[in-house]
Structures are given as structure tokens and as C-alpha cells.
Amino acid sequence: MNMVRLDKKKFGDFILELSVEHAVYAPGNTGGKTDFIPVSSEDEINLKTLVTDLSPKGIFFPHSEVLYEYDTEGIRVPEKEAGKPIAVWGMRGCDSRSLLMLNKVFGSAIQMPDNKNFQDPYWKEKYDSSVIFGSACNMPQSTCFCNWFGDGPHSREGMDVFVVDAGDHYLMEPVSDKGSNILGKLTCLTDSLEGDAEAALKLASEAESTMVPPMDVNGLGELLNDLYDEPVWEDISAKCINCGACTFSCPTCHCYDIQDEGKGSSGKRIRIWDSCMFPIFTMEASGHNPRALSSQRVRQRVMHKYSYFLEKYGDFLCTGCGRCITVCPVNLDIREVLKTINVYNRQGITNG
């Protein structure tokens, strides 16, 4: 299927049509911040936002999610609502790519040592049926560094439909079969015109040209492993106050806690976002804490993203969305951390 057009005057119709068979999520305002929220009409959507304050991971991996309910009778997994599949509008390449990473954790069957496979039912049923309308990023921000990971503002990874904002209309191109399928069904779309493809390419190269050249991340995983015991982590973490804002806003941070919420003999067991920045994250009942120091926790976060995940799943656990940079109250910039690592290695280790 080829590129199609959506006239912006018909955007409201498009959302209504999409809503017939889908639960639609799009960037919107909530509590003074921007986030991906459930929408039913054009009015609720904030089309001006660039990178949303909160990442879209919450659509598929909610901040808190009920694993099961309990009472005196026993325990029950809540009945699945016969809900519509999820459609997301306006997800930038950094964010759609983050879902591919989370899918490695939650979506792929994890082989248990006894050869049983475990699949996470809570994530899978939402993500597998979803359709992602990605958004080409025409205006990268100063905090954006998706180009460090071989990506660009017009990346299509993790999308089902690639969407370019081309002024008074959107250009849409299917990326997956699911994307072709849905574009074939929507009636408010029209064929693209001659020159549309070129216009999209031009926007892509303009966006790319505004980005700062990337740091070379080849070999970053090994570099980090070599520096594990170096004092550089104390310098890097000196100003971190372990607030955890970076992990909450991050589209790929997926660590969670399991907690019981209840009153009397009934309640529910939930999983809820947690943060490796908190000392209690690894604190054991005995008082022993393998990551008691801030420097150990900051190192864990950096190592998990750029070494451990790479080793386990073959990809960095970072899309360069820049949210952790924007949100950090002490201006700890992950790009500066990685540059420090890079330079430290060259000076401190290679040169003896």
C-alpha cells in the first residue's frame, strides 16, 4: 500500500472513525503535564506537544496494575473487560522504539530454568493487539539524542503506520501489515499526490540537520564493564539526589515493585513502577543492601541501559528521547555521563 493523505480538517472525523473499533490514546494534557491519555475526540488531543512529559509506556505497562484480587474466598485474576484494541496516535520514533524494547522484557516468552515458558499476560494482551500511529519528528529538541543509536527523527521502528505532519495535511504510510490493514479500512483518507513522498523526505532531512552529531556508542557496553570498579562513578553520581524522576519519565525503565493494597481481608495485589534510584529497592529485611550507595545505584541505571540490556537482549535500553535530561532537578545529563565514560576510558585505561 502506498502513502495516503489525511486532510487536517478531517482529523476529527479520523479520530471518531478510529474510535469505533479502538480505544484511542494520544498526547493530551493531564495535571499540568503532557502524557498519552485516552481520547474520544479531536479536542482532547494536544498536537503541539513535542516529546510528552510522561512516556507512553504507561498505556501498556500502567503505573499500577492489578495482578489479582483476594478476599476470604481466595484469589481471582480480574475478568478481562471485552475492551477494544488500543490505537495510539502521535508516538514519536523514540517512543515507538521503546515499546520494542519493553516487548523484549514483557512480551517475549521467558524460558524458566525448568524449561517451562512464561509469558506475561498483562502486557501481551494489550500490546499485541495494538496499532501504533507513529509521528515523524519535524522538530527535534536540544535534549534529543535518538541519533546516537542509529535512529533519526523520522525513524519508523515500532510503528504500524508512519505519519508525517506536512502542514495542512498528514501523510501516512503503512509500516506493518496491521498498519496496511487499518489504513485500508479508514474512509477519511485520500490518495497521496505527486511530490508528497519528496516533501516527507525533505522534512526528514531538515529535522536531521538540526540534531547535534552523535557520540559513537560502539563498544560502549564493554567500556562500561571495564570501568565498573573505577572511582568515576562517584564523580558522576555526586549531584544525584536519587529522586527517581528519570526512571519514572523514561520510556524504557520497567523495574517494578509488587505490593498488596487492601483493607481487612480483601484487596488486590498490584505491580507498580519502582526505581533503582531508591535505596530501598534492593534493601533486604536483614538490613543488608547490595546497592546502599548512590554511586552504586547510578552505576546500576547506566549499566542496565548501556551494558546489561545490550548483553541480554542485543539492544541499548535507551532511545535518546531526552526525558531524563529535561526532568532532572540537578541537571544530570545522561549524554554527559556517557561522554565522561568515553573520555575517562581513553585517558584512564587505554593510556594506562
Binding site: Y122, C255, T282, E311
Partner: protein, 277 residues
């Protein structure tokens, strides 16, 4: 078990008190549902998450051996909110269980070998599982040596069984406590020092170590000095595990998750992993 996030129901069959201060209790649990029982296959070294609705969940090594049918055994030290709640359980009460989780001691590789078991404190749980398992196929193994240390005589768990093991000629038992006390006629001193003193031969021997982090830290080098190769030393590690299925992200050492890549690791595996003990 279809959904590893949801516990199955167990019934408390027997409660044993292990120490005079009553902080260490042993629970024998039976399956409420026969289908859960039939599906539950485990080996020594694996663990389960025990859960009390409204209070939470904690990981515990399985202390029973798969050769002992009809129950699963756990020894619980009263330390935090979940263990406190477990200590309130009475016979006949129910408790949630997820598992078996994690890997196991290399039981197949122990066949035809001498086995050295080194344990400390109430971490002797999965070592008890292993010891019972080995004794139930005693002819498959050569010498079995156990070095077990506790802070004081009260803090050994499974005292009745230890008394029986000591009488057997086919197990060499070495018990030690940290400091001398009146009436104690066994060894005194920390586990690493006693391992050095007993100096088991590394010849055709596999060493299995489980205990508090500090004991493991100082015991592994002693074994190396005695001539044990990295492939012949296994240890079981612990972290604050929550999900047990390699997703929640807190029990990692390097790129390995204790809950699915461990808890049992060979010394050879640990060499390349930072922050182990």
C-alpha cells in the same frame, strides 16, 4: 502453572520451632489443589515466593527434597513484615506460593563424586534439601562432607536431623560456632577458617556453598586455595527478589538475574560478574 504472577494455595501441615528465641520456624506445606501438586516438580536449590494476602511476598529456598513426597518445607526467620505474618500462621491455615523458581544445584554432575557442603546459619535450607536428596541415592555419590556453622549452638536449624546425620558413618559432619560457649565440644571459629582446617581434598570433589554473603565471600577463596577449580565450586546467592521471573529488575548481579539465571552459580560464572558478594 499458567500465570507465574498468581500464587497457588498451600495449607500449613506442621510447624516446627528451630531455636529457643522462636525466631526460626519450619513450615511443612501441602497443596490445596491436586493439580498444583502434580504440576510442581523441583530440584534442590530452587526457591518459592511465599505470600500472605495484604502483607506481601518474600522468597524462600525450598528446604524439603523432591524425594520427600507430600509436603514442601520452608524455614522462615522472623525479620520483616511478611516473615512476621508467616510466624502468626497456625496448622491448617493457608498461604500463597509461587514456584518453583530459579535454577538448582548441579545434582547430575554430583554423581560419582565426593560432595562438600558448606553452609552458614539459617541458609542451610536448600543445603538440607540437597543433603536429603544425595542421601536418598547415597550409592551414586562418594564421600559427603558437611561443614555447617552458626553464631551459637541455638542457631543451627534442623537440630534433630543433625543429630541423626552425625551418627551416620557415611557423612562427615563438622559443626562450628563463632565463639566458644560452655558445653560446646565441636569446633569453634568462622566457617572459612574451619574449611581451611578440615581441608577437604579437591580430588574428584564438588563444593556447594550457601550462607550469608560475608561467609560466601571469605569461603570461596579458601576453596580456591585448597585447589578447587572454579568449575567445581557452586554457590547460591540471594537478593531481594520480587517477581521471580526476571522482569522487575532488582535482583541482578551484572547482566544476570538471580531469580532466573540463578540463584545457583558456579565460581566460573561469577568470575565475570561484578558485585556478587
Amino acid at each position: 502453572m499458567g500465570n507465574y504472577c498468581v500464587p497457588q494455595q498451600m495449607k500449613v501441615e506442621r510447624i516446627g520451632i528451630e531455636d529457643p528465641a522462636r525466631t526460626l520456624r519450619t513450615y511443612d506445606l501441602s497443596f490445596v489443589n491436586d493439580s498444583d501438586r502434580d504440576a510442581f516438580k523441583y530440584l534442590p536449590g530452587q526457591f518459592c515466593e511465599l505470600s500472605i494476602p495484604g502483607k506481601g511476598e518474600s522468597p524462600f529456598g525450598i528446604a524439603s527434597s523432591p524425594t520427600e513426597e507430600g509436603f514442601l518445607r520452608f524455614t522462615v526467620n522472623r525479620t520483616g513484615s511478611v516473615t512476621n505474618e508467616i510466624h502468626y500462621l497456625r496448622n491448617g491455615d493457608t498461604i500463597g506460593l509461587r514456584g518453583p523458581l530459579g535454577n538448582w544445584y548441579p545434582v547430575e554432575d554430583l554423581k560419582g563424586m565426593n560432595v562438600l557442603i558448606v553452609g552458614g546459619g539459617f541458609a542451610f535450607t536448600t543445603l538440607r534439601s540437597l543433603l536429603i536428596y544425595l542421601m536418598d541415592s547415597r550409592d551414586d555419590h562418594k564421600d559427603i562432607t558437611v561443614i555447617y556453622g552458626a553464631r551459637n549452638p541455638d542457631l543451627f536449624i534442623y537440630k534433630d536431623e543433625i543429630a541423626l546425620w552425625k551418627q551416620r558413618s557415611d557423612i562427615q559432619m563438622h559443626l562450628t560456632i563463632d565463639k566458644p560457649v560452655d558445653g560446646w565440644d565441636k569446633k569453634t571459629g568462622f566457617v572459612p577458617a574451619v574449611v581451611k582446617e578440615v581441608a577437604p581434598s579437591p580430588e574428584n570433589t564438588m563444593a556447594i556453598v550457601c550462607g550469608p554473603p560475608v561467609m560466601i565471600k571469605y569461603t570461596l577463596p579458601v576453596l580456591t586455595q585448597l585447589g578447587f577449580s572454579d568449575e567445581r565450586i557452586y554457590t547460591s546467592l540471594e537478593r531481594r527478589m520480587k517477581c521471580g521471573i526476571g522482569k522487575c529488575g532488582r535482583c541482578n548481579i551484572g547482566s544476570k538475574y538471580i531469580c532466573i539465571d540463578g540463584p545457583v552459580f558456579s565460581m566460573a560464572e561469577l568470575k565475570n560478574i561484578p558485585e556478587t558478594v
